[in-house]
C-alpha cells in the first residue's frame, strides 16, 4: 500500500479546498446511466426476437401497466377532438385540409403516423392496449420507422413497398429498439410532425427535419449546441397527454410565468409560461417592447421567417391540374431548378418556398373548421377550411404570424360540399392508381358516409397555420420598420393605429399644401421686395 503517500501529496497540493468527509466509502460508486433509472437492455423480457409491434407493447405493459390506458385518452390515439367552444367534432379523423385532404378511405397510409398499430380501416379497435405504439415516441436509436401503407406497423423484415414498386424497405430490429427506449426527443416527435402534409416541411413551415439538430440561428431554444430543448420541454406531457393544441390554441396567455407548484390548469407550451408578460427586461426600449407584447404575439417579431433550415415548405397546392401524364403516357414528376417537385401527376401543381415571410392576422384562439357536411360556395371565391377568430377589439386577440396555405381541391358542385377522395391505395378506385376523380371520390365519400352527386369541380381553399417554432435569436427579431412603414408586414392589419403606417391622408395633404403655400407666399413677398428695391 504505497498510495497513502501519494494521496497525502495530492491532498497537500490541493490544499484545504477539498471538503472533509466523515465516512470513507469502502469502494467507488459503481458506474451508472444517469439519464434513466432503468437500463432496458438488462431486461430479460426484451432480450428476444419480436415479430410485430404489439408483441413489444405487451412486454412494455407488464411493467408500465397504466401507459396504454393513458394513451387511449389522448388526441394522439383518438384522432378525434370535440371543441368545447364550438362543439365541432374535430381531430385528424374528422377534419379535411387542402394538402392530402382527408384520412377515411386512406387509413393504411395516413395511420403510419398514428400512435398505434393496425388502423387499416374504420373498424380499428380503439380499446386495444397492445395496439398502442410505445416505440414511435420512445425510440432513441432513430431507426424505428412506420412506412405509409402498413397501417402504422413497422417493417420487421425487408419488404417491397409499395408492392410491385421494386423498392425495398429494410426491416428493423425491434428487439434492439425496445432495449434502447428512452425519453421522447425532437427526432421522435419529428418523425411525424416534421413530415406533416406528406413530406419534409410540407405542411407547417415552422417544423421540418432541420429541427432535429438545429443551430441557434434556426431555433434559439432547440439549438443542439446550446439549450437543446426537446419538444417536450415546452409541450410538457402529463399522463402521456402532450400539451398544446391546434384546435384550441392559446392565442393570448394572460397569466404570466408559470411558477412551480402552481395548480392552474393551463397550456404550458406558451412563450409567456416561461418568459412572463413583460419579457423584454434588458433590451433597449424594453418598456415600449413590453407594451407591444400586449397586442403582438411574441412569435410575430421573433420568428422573422419560416422554413429557414434549408427545407422548403409548400405554399400552395393545386389539385385541379392533377392527372396529366408524361410523354410516355405515365404519371410524371416535374422538378424546379433546385430539384424540388413542383408538379406531380398524382397531386397537381405546387409552389414551395424557403425563408418564407409569414402573413399576419388578429387571432383569439378560436378556430372554426369547414367540415365535410358544411355547405361551400364557389362564388365566394375562397373557402376557408379553418377560420381563425379574432379582431383588434375583442380584447382576446393578438397579432399572430401565420402560414397561409392556398390551394384548389375537388368538391361536389351539386351538393355544395367538400369531398374526401380515396387517394392512396393499391386498388382500382384510388386516385393515385387510376387517376379518375369520380371513382376516387365516390369510394372515399362512401367510407366517410357522405352523399356524393357524381359531379366533380374544384374550389379554391385556404388554411391558416399559426406559426410558433423556429424562434430566432433576439438579434434577429424584426426591426421596427418591418411593420412601422407603409406597405410593411402589418399592412393588412386593421383596428390599430400604427405610427409610420397610418395617418389621415386629408390632413397630410392639407398640412403639406399649407406649408407649400406659405413657402410660395414668403418667396413671392421676398421677390417683390427685392424687385421693388432694385427699381428704386
Amino acid at each position: 500500500m504505497g498510495y497513502p503517500i501519494i494521496a497525502l501529496l495530492a491532498a497537500l497540493a490541493l490544499g484545504a479546498s477539498v471538503p472533509a468527509v466523515s465516512q470513507v466509502p469502502s469502494e467507488a460508486p459503481k458506474p451508472v446511466k444517469l439519464n434513466t433509472t432503468a437500463d432496458h437492455t438488462k431486461f430479460k423480457e426484451l432480450q428476444r426476437v419480436f415479430a410485430s409491434g404489439p408483441e413489444v407493447t405487451k412486454v412494455c405493459l407488464t411493467c408500465h401497466t397504466e401507459a396504454a390506458g393513458q394513451i387511449h385518452r389522448t388526441k394522439h390515439w383518438k384522432w378525434e377532438f370535440l371543441n368545447p367552444g364550438s362543439n365541432q367534432k374535430l381531430g385528424k379523423k374528422n377534419v379535411l385540409n387542402n394538402f392530402c385532404i382527408s384520412i377515411p378511405s386512406n387509413y393504411p397510409f395516413c395511420t403510419s403516423c398514428h400512435v398505434g398499430y393496425g388502423w387499416k380501416d374504420a373498424n380499428f379497435d380503439f380499446s386495444s392496449e397492445e395496439s398502442v405504439d410505445c416505440l414511435v415516441c420512445h425510440d432513441t436509436t432513430g431507426n424505428y420507422k412506420k412506412p405509409p401503407g402498413l397501417a402504422g406497423n413497422p417493417p420487421v423484415k425487408d419488404m417491397e413497398l409499395p408492392p410491385g414498386s421494386g423498392k425495398i424497405v429494410k426491416g428493423i430490429d425491434l428487439s434492439r429498439i425496445a432495449q434502447k427506449v428512452g425519453k421522447t426527443s425532437r427526432d421522435t416527435c419529428g418523425a411525424c410532425h416534421f413530415f406533416g402534409g406528406g413530406g419534409d416541411g410540407v405542411k407547417h413551415g415552422d417544423m421540418d427535419s432541420s429541427l432535429a439538430a438545429p443551430t441557434k440561428e434556426l431555433d434559439v431554444h432547440m439549438d443542439a449546441e446550446g439549450l437543446d430543448f426537446t419538444c417536450g420541454t415546452c409541450h410538457k406531457a402529463s399522463s402521456h397527454d402532450v400539451a398544446g393544441s391546434r384546435y384550441t390554441p392559446t392565442a393570448k396567455d394572460t397569466k404570466g410565468a408559470h411558477l412551480r407548484g402552481s395548480t392552474e390548469n393551463r397550456n404550458p407550451a406558451t412563450c409567456v409560461n416561461c418568459h412572463g408578460k413583460a419579457p423584454h427586461e434588458k433590451a433597449k426600449q424594453s418598456e415600449r417592447l413590453n407594451l407591444h407584447a400586449n397586442k403582438v404575439a411574441c412569435q410575430t417579431c421573433h420568428i422573422p421567417e419560416i422554413a429557414r433550415g434549408g427545407v422548403a415548405t409548400k405554399t400552395s397546392w393545386d389539385w385541379s391540374t392533377a392527372g396529366k401524364k408524361g410523354p410516355d403516357g405515365k404519371p410524371m414528376l416535374v422538378k424546379d431548378a433546385k430539384g424540388r417537385v413542383i408538379y406531380d401527376s398524382k397531386k397537381g401543381d405546387f409552389t414551395l418556398g424557403e425563408n418564407v415571410k409569414p402573413e399576419y392576422a388578429w387571432f383569439n384562439g378560436e378556430v372554426t373548421y369547414t367540415l365535410l357536411g358544411d355547405k361551400v360556395d364557389k362564388s365566394e371565391g375562397v373557402t376557408r377550411i379553418n377560420k381563425l377568430g379574432g379582431s383588434a377589439e375583442d380584447g382576446k386577440s393578438m397579432i399572430w404570424p401565420l402560414k397561409v396555405f392556398r390551394g384548389s381541391q375537388p368538391y361536389d358542385p351539386d351538393n355544395k360540399t367538400l369531398v374526401t377522395p380515396h387517394t392512396a391505395g393499391n386498388d382500382d378506385t384510388a386516385y393515385w392508381k387510376n387517376f379518375g376523380w369520380e371513382k376516387a371520390i365516390e369510394s372515399g365519400m362512401k367510407v366517410s358516409g357522405a352523399p356524393f352527386s357524381g359531379k366533380v369541380d374544384f374550389i379554391k381553399t385556404e388554411m391558416s397555420w399559426p406559426i410558433t417554432h423556429m424562434v430566432a435569436p433576439k438579434e434577429k427579431a424584426l426591426g421596427c420598420t418591418e411593420c412601422h412603414s407603409k406597405d410593411g408586414r402589418l399592412a393588412g392589419i386593421s383596428g390599430v393605429y400604427l405610427p409610420g403606417r397610418d395617418g389621415i391622408p386629408l390632413m397630410d395633404t392639407l398640412g403639406w399644401s399649407a406649408a407649400l403655400l406659405t413657402l410660395l407666399g414668403v418667396f413671392g413677398h421676398g421677390a417683390l421686395r427685392i424687385f421693388v428695391a432694385r427699381r428704386k
Binding site: 501519494i6 491532498a11 466509502p25 439538430a213
Partner: protein, 127 residues
C-alpha cells in the same frame, strides 16, 4: 487524508468506467460531425461529406485508419480534447462537449456515421 483517498478512489473509478463498453450516443456524434467536421469542411476546399456518401464498412475503415488530409494528419486529432480546447471559443459544439473523453466522442461519431451511411439504418446528409 481521508478526502485524498476519495479522490484516488474516484480516479480509479473513472478509469474502470472507461474500461466498460461505452454506449455510443449517435446524437452527440451527429452534432459534433455537423458543427465541427462539416462546418470546417464547408469552409475548406474539400467540401462537405455526407455520411451517406460512404458505406458502413468504408466509415469503419476510415475511423480505424485514423488518417486525415491524405494521411498527413490524424482524424483523432480533430476529435481530441486538445483540439476542442483550441477551437471552443469559436465553436459551440466543441465548447459543449469540451469534457467528453476522446474515445467516447470518437465512438459517438462512429455511431452516427454507421447509422447515416449509404447502407446504414437511416442515410444522412451533413446539414
Amino acid at each position: 487524508m481521508k478526502s485524498a483517498r476519495i479522490l484516488l478512489a474516484a480516479a480509479i473509478a473513472a478509469t474502470s468506467l472507461s474500461a466498460l463498453a461505452y454506449d455510443a450516443d449517435w446524437k452527440r456524434g451527429r452534432v459534433y460531425y455537423r458543427s465541427v467536421c462539416t462546418s470546417c469542411h464547408v469552409a475548406n476546399p474539400v467540401g462537405s461529406i455526407n455520411p451517406s456518401a460512404k458505406t458502413m464498412g468504408d466509415w469503419a475503415t476510415y475511423m480505424k485508419a485514423d488518417k486525415h488530409a491524405k494521411g498527413k494528419e490524424k482524424v483523432s486529432q480533430y476529435i481530441s480534447k486538445t483540439y476542442r480546447d483550441k477551437i471552443k471559443s469559436a465553436n459551440k459544439a466543441a465548447e459543449k462537449f469540451a469534457d467528453v473523453p476522446d474515445q467516447e466522442l470518437s465512438d459517438d461519431i462512429a455511431a452516427f456515421l454507421k447509422k447515416g451511411a449509404k447502407d446504414g439504418d437511416s442515410p444522412a446528409s451533413c446539414s
